[in-house]
Structures are given as C-alpha cells and as structure tokens.
Amino acid sequence: MTTHAPVRVSHRAATAGVVAGSLLLLLLLALPIATLVLRSGLAGLGQLGVDAELRGALWLTAQTATLATLITVVLGTPLAYLLARDKLPAAPIVGALLDLPLLLPHPVAGMALLLAFGRASPAGVALAAFGLAVVGSRTGIVLAMLFVAAPLYVSAAREAIARVDPRYESVARTLGDSSVRAAWRVTRPLAGRGLLAAAVVMWARSVSEFGAIVILTYNPKVASVLSYDRFTGEGLDAALPVAAVLVILALVPLLVLRTLRASAVSGEPAR
C-alpha cells in the first residue's frame, strides 16, 4: 500500500515520535534516580560528616573502581586494538568469549571467581605467594569489578578504534613508525574520546557492582554492600542515604569526564 501524505507532515510526525520516545526513555531512567536523590540526598550528604563507615565505604569504592578501570585500560586497550584491526586469529570467537561475563548473573560470577581464584585453586595458591587473597580483600573487590565491567570497556574501545581509518596508521608507517608506534601516535589520540567514554562506563559499572563483590568480599564494605547491609539491619531509611550520596558524588567525576570528552580531546573533529 502506498500513501501520498505530504513529506512535511511525515517529517513532523517522525520528529515528534523521536522526541516522544527519547523523553519516555529519559523519564524511565531519571525518575528512580531523582526519587532517590530527592528523598535521601540531603540526609546522605548530612550523614557524610558524622558517618565514618559511610565515608570509608565511598572512598574504598572510588579507589577500587578506579584501580579496576586503570588495569582494564592498560590491558584491555591493546586487546581492543587487536580485535578492531582483525589481527587476532579467531577474532569473532574471542569477541564472543568477551561477552560471556556479561551473561553471568552476578552472584554466579562471584562464585566462579571464588572457585577460580580462591585459596583452594592453583591461581589462588599463586596469588597467596604474593600475599594476595580474593576473599575479604581489596583484591577481591577489584577482581569482581574487573570481571563484570571489563567486557564493557573492551567492546566499546574496540568500536572506538574501529572507527579510526587504518590508512592513517599506514601513512605513519610509511614515514618510518613501527606499527606499535603508529598505533600509539595516530590511532590512540583519534580514538581518544571513545576510549574515555568506554572507561567512564566501566568505572560507573564497577562502582555499582554488588552481587559478585558480596560473595568475595563482604568486609571491607564498598558502598553497594554497605547500602544492602543497612537495608537489612536498619531498614530503607538507613539504606537510601548511602545510595543517594553515592549517586551525587559519582556525578562529579562522570560530569568531568563527559565534559573532557565533549571538549574534543586530541583534535578529533567534533561530531
């Protein structure tokens, strides 16, 4: 069936549809956050001054999420590059394997990590030789964050790198750069904004992780565990300020990074 409605009208309808759809999704996402912050934000900020356990949990969360992100950026960016440039044998299989951690329910991820890296496992024995243990430790928290969030970084970084035309690197190589140097000098800055965005997503996902962390490390408590702990022990009014203050404080680095990204890192033309 063909219709001959004026192009103008269908344009307007399409625009309206796009706007309405966007607004609906934004509302779905913003409403719970706004409710949380409006209901408990002030209480949470007020509590920061008097609640040493809350300050400790927030600081621990920031440290471990940042460390997990840094480790992933260092190890994951080369991997993302190899995947983007099809330089890995069986790249599709590797790519699919990288999605697997995202499929696991998080408590199951925690159990799998426990079995693979616990003190009864060969890896755990090796870790113990360096004085590291995954249970009840910062190591466990970082490991859990890395496991659930690193695939997000690698897949977003791969996309960012794939968008950079490989011919730029070829040019650099014809001018005498080694392939590693060409990738570092040409592709890295051009993909910089995308890599930063990928790191931001990874960091935020790490901050919010609960299920895998609580299996490995209940104490010391990160903010998500503390919030659950307060809910069980003291109820909603004790739990929500923890989460609200986490959201408010996490907004600062997120905004800074998003702004950095917007202000055209490294000369990539703004899109």
């Binding site: 069936m1 219709t3 409605a5 269908s10 309808a13 609640d51 356990e53 159990m111 426990l114 079995l115 616990g118 003190r119 009864a120 496992s121 249970v135 009840g136 430790s137 609580v214 299996i215 490390t217 209940y218 104490n219 010391p220 659950y228 702990d229 307060r230 809910f231 069980t232 022990g233 003291e234 109820g235 909603l236 004790a238």
Partner: protein
C-alpha cells in the same frame, strides 16, 4: 490513512501493554497461588514441602529465600507482602513484624547449632564433639561466622561460644573463639558461609544442622548444653548473653532454644491459600518432610497472637 494506521498501532500497543499488566494481576487475584518467604536455613525443607503441596492441591507456589531480617524488611520497608513468611528466629516477629505487619505467628520447629566442615578442612580427620573448640583455636584453621547484626545465626554462634566457655570451664574461651574469625571472614548470613566453606576458603563454620545437611557438609554435633537445640536446657542457654554493637545502638541477645516462626502477614494477597499451606506444613505430612531435612518440627505448633485463622487454630487444638 497513515494516521489511521498509526492510531490502530497505538491502540494495539496500549492494549498489549494493558494485557501484559493484567496477567500478573490476574494471577495474583486467583486463590491458587501462594508466595512464601523462607529464611535461608529453611530454604530446602520449605521447597520440598511446597512441591508436595503444589502436587496435591494444584496451587502455584513461589518461594523467595533470604536472611530472616532481610525478609522481614521486604515487608515492612518495601511493602512486598508474601502469603507466608517463615523465619529462623521467632523473635523477629515481635521485633519487626507484630503488630503492624502481622497480628499472629506460630512457633513451629527447632534446629540446633553444629560445627560444619568438609573433607578438605584442616584437621577434618580428628574433629569430634569433644575437641571441636580446641580444633578451632589452632592458628592455621580458618573459621567463618555470620554477622550478628544481620542474621540470627550470627548472634547464636556467639551465644554458643559463651555457653562453651561455661560448659568447658575455660575462662576466656568465648573471646578467643570469637577472635578466630577476622572481619574479612564474617558474612551476612549462613548460606554465604556455606559457599565459602565449599570453595575451600574456610575450614569450619558454626551453623544450623539443617543447613549442614541440606548442603551435604560433614558436621559434628555439639553437646546439648550448648547447641541451643534442647528446650530442656532453656534456663542454661539463658545464661549466655551477647551484646551486638550496631551503628546507632547496642542490642543484647539472650541465649534461647532455637525456635522457628511462621505466619501469614497482614495484607497477604492470598491469605486463605497461605493458611492452607501452613495447615499442611504444620500437619503430620509437613512435619515428616521437615524432619527428613533435620528440622525438628514441634508436635503441635504454638500460636502467638489473637487473630489466628479459626481453621488453623481448630486444626491444631
């Protein structure tokens, strides 16, 4: 024409959204559903009882497990009300649920504390009911326990340690045993301890006998004078008091025989079906099922509160 189609599509969308919404509502309205919240240590026996109940009556059964205090909070704070709530400590009813969220409950079963371990545990070959505390004191042994502020099993473990100190006439024993578990090995509830034990992170945990059996763990029974399982020793248990420091206050728990509580909360969506399941669970078949899972069901439940459904009260007079 296009607008018409858009309208039709919109109408379809709304209708399907409505019916999607209506489906769970419909299920909720049917009397043949029963939603049960079960304390982690009751998860397996309640599952077995629910399965049998479902087979016999055709009822749709749904079960959610968690720490007793967390389950109670789901009702009081999140207003998610089940049809039946079964808790590891009857005391949680008066502390959190009665009178606002429940008007009555039933004491229905006992359990006892045991020392659970696996074949890989350090010292597994030589541990007995007599030497268990000396095994726990060995520096190379890793002992886990639950958070006393979070789960009944946590403060009960500390009560067992206090009672052991008196029973073995070993001054300072309770503090030594308590100190054997560093903060890193304290967990919110007993089921997570079981996971750590099975993964080889822990050598021993003090836990409910039912959980040890449900998870096929090895365990040794503790003397009845300290295992909180025998009502005849209630007076002795009461000599152990445990102070638990929480963020805002300190709570004192007094040792008592372990008694499980169960009830139909106020505003239960299928209160009648919930009461029917209770009648089954507390009756001879349900008690046999519980017994098969190391939960000692009372021969007759003890009701607390005044608005117990008449059918239930008369069934167990």
């Amino acid at each position: 024409m296009r607008r018409l189609r858009a309208l039709a599509a919109l109408a379809l969308l709304t209708a399907s959204a409505r019916s999607a919404e209506a489906a769970p509502l419909g299920a909720r309205a049917s009397a043949d559903t029963v939603v049960v919240y079960a304390a982690a240590s009751l998860a397996v026996p309640i599952r077995a009882a629910l399965d049998t109940f479902a087979r016999r009556t055709g009822t749709v059964v749904l079960q959610e497990n968690g720490a007793s205090l967390e389950l109670a909070r789901r009702i009081t704070e999140l207003h998610r009300v089940p049809d039946v709530i079964a808790l590891a400590d009857e005391e949680v009813f008066p502390k959190l649920l009665v009178p606002r969220a429940a008007s009555w409950y039933a004491r229905f079963a006992r359990n006892r504390m045991v020392l659970a371990y696996t074949s890989r545990s350090d010292g597994a070959a030589g541990v007995t009911s007599a030497n268990w505390y000396r095994v726990l004191l060995r520096p190379e042994v890793r002992v886990g326990r639950s958070d006393p502020a979070m789960a009944p099993v946590g403060y009960r473990t500390l009560a067992v340690y206090r009672l052991a100190e008196r029973f073995y006439r070993a001054p300072g024993l309770a503090a030594h045993l308590e100190a054997r578990t560093p903060l890193a090995l304290i967990r919110p509830n007993a089921s997570e301890l079981v996971a750590l034990l099975q993964a080889g992170e822990l050598d021993y945990i003090v836990d409910y006998e039912s959980l040890a059996r449900a998870n096929h763990l090895r365990y040794v029974r503790l003397p009845m004078e300290i295992d909180l399982g025998d009502p005849a020793h209630a007076a002795q248990y009461a000599r152990a008091s445990v102070r638990v420091a929480r963020r805002t206050d300190t709570v004192t728990y007094t040792g008592a025989p372990i008694v499980y509580g169960i009830g139909v909360p106020r505003g239960a969506p299928h209160a009648a079906a919930g009461a029917r399941f209770l009648a089954f669970l507390l009756g001879p078949d349900g008690r046999a099922l519980l017994g098969a899972h190391a939960i000692d069901a009372l021969s007759r439940p003890e009701f607390v509160g005044d608005s117990v459904p008449a059918a239930l009260r008369s069934a167990f007079r």
